[in-house]
Structures are given as C-alpha cells and as structure tokens.
C-alpha cells in the first residue's frame, strides 16, 4: 500500500504545485485529487473488485486500468473576478500536509527495506 501511496503523493504534489504556480493566471481552475478514493481504487484493482475471473490457473491476470478519471476541480471559497479559483493559503497547507504524509509513507517503506537488510545480513 505504501509504495502506491508514495506515487499518488508525488502526483498530488505536482498538481498542488501547478495550482500555486498558476495563482495569478486568469481563468485557471484549481484542481486536486481525492486521495482516499484513488488509493482505494488503486489497491482494490490489484485485489478483488474489477479483477478478471479465472476458470483455469494458467490464465493470465488482467492488467488493471491505469487511467482513473479522478482529477476534480476545487470548489472555491472566494472566486475572483478573473475566473481564477486558486486559494494560495489553502493550496499551501495542502502541499505541506501532502509532503508530511509523503515522508511518513517513505519512512514505512524505508523500515521495510531495513528489515529485509537485517534479515539478509543476519547480524
């Protein structure tokens, strides 16, 4: 789960960076992904829901669809006159939260690798 989460967090950080970079672009609509929903979809597609049914063990596994249309527009609290819906404060807090969560996932992956290394070395 955590490697998946890392990928998603990285994608989300790009999206939030794009929102912040376009804070002064007229007509730009801020966008984000619903993290919980996408992660649930990603992990579910590897397990049971939407997976192909096999009548023979030699059948190949279906490849999970890679495109999830989960990009959503943010509902603006105070839309500006030029049609821009970026709230820089909100985007900045989301970005900070996203990077902390990224580091948390990274730490989980890291400790798993460390555990394997310990097992390999047998020290």
């Amino acid at each position: 789960m955590h490697p998946n989460a890392l990928l998603l967090r990285a994608q989300r950080s790009e999206m939030l960076a794009a929102n912040i970079a376009n804070a002064d672009t007229p007509g730009y609509k801020a966008r984000d992904i619903n993290f919980q929903e996408v992660l649930a979809q990603q992990t579910a597609s590897h397990n049971q829901a939407g997976a192909m049914r096999k009548s023979d063990p030699r059948h190949l596994d279906g490849v999970a669809p890679q495109v999830f249309n989960t990009e959503q527009y943010r509902v603006p609290l105070m839309p500006s006159l030029d049609g821009n819906t970026v709230d820089v404060q909100l985007e900045q807090t989301e970005f900070a939260e996203n990077s902390v969560q990224f580091q948390a996932s990274l730490r989980f992956v890291n400790s798993r690798i460390k555990g394997m290394m310990t097992a390999i070395k047998g020290e």
Binding site: S13, A21, Q103
Partner: protein, 150 residues
Amino acid sequence: MSLLNVFDVSGSGMAAQTLRLNTTASNIANAESVAENPEDTYRARYPVFQATLSDQVGMMQRGQKDPLNPDALTPGTVTVPGVVESDKPLSLRYQPEHPYANDDGYVAYPNVSVVEEMANMISASRSFQINVEVMNTAKSLAERVLSLGQ
C-alpha cells in the same frame, strides 16, 4: 517522475513572476517619460499569464508528457504568450512651458498608475516566494527518496 515535474512547474511560475516584476519596474521607471508625439508616449505594459493544460485525460494526473509531442511543456506550467500595452487614456497635464506641450499647452504623460504598480510588485514577489518554497520542499522530498534504504 512527478516529483521532478514540480521543478518545471514551480520554475515556470517563478519565471512568469520575474517577467511581471520586470514589466512593473519598466512601468515605474517610465511613469514620467514623455515623447514628442502622444502616440509614441510610453504605455503601461502587463504580461498575460496562461496555464499549459494537457489535452489528454489523466495525463497530468500521471505526471506524464504527451508521447506524441515530447517537446511539449509539463502540464500545469505557466506560460506567457505575450505582453500587452494598456489602452487606458494617457494622462494630460497642463504645462505650457514644456517643449513637448501641444497647441493647448497639454503634455501627454504615460497611463501608468504608480500605486497599481506597487501593488503588482508586492503580489509578484509574494507569488515568487511561494514558488521557491514549493520547489525547496520538492527538493528535500526527492533527496529523501534518493536516500531510501540507506
């Protein structure tokens, strides 16, 4: 990798804000510049910002570039398609002794509002700072990924 795309996106934001600061500097510096012909008088300049969007669904979400067009910019970057001149009327001041005064004694000064320009300058510098902040965070995250398993 999408963490590295953050550098493209924030970098383009910084470049766009720098251009905005540049036009602001030019506007303030030329706020009192007059010319012999009112048509040649300096007019306030403003950059036009535009977002690069991907035409393929989900492309940006996966942090990928268009495979058919590898030279395309990373989706989400800011581009500046051009700089426009303000079409506000020039401000006429009554200065009959001025060498460039017209027959009625008026001199056409640029349509630059210094107060507006100062507000623009503050906004540009704040936006620039936020982009630097985002880029720094992305850099430290990428460094942590590189040191994974060590």
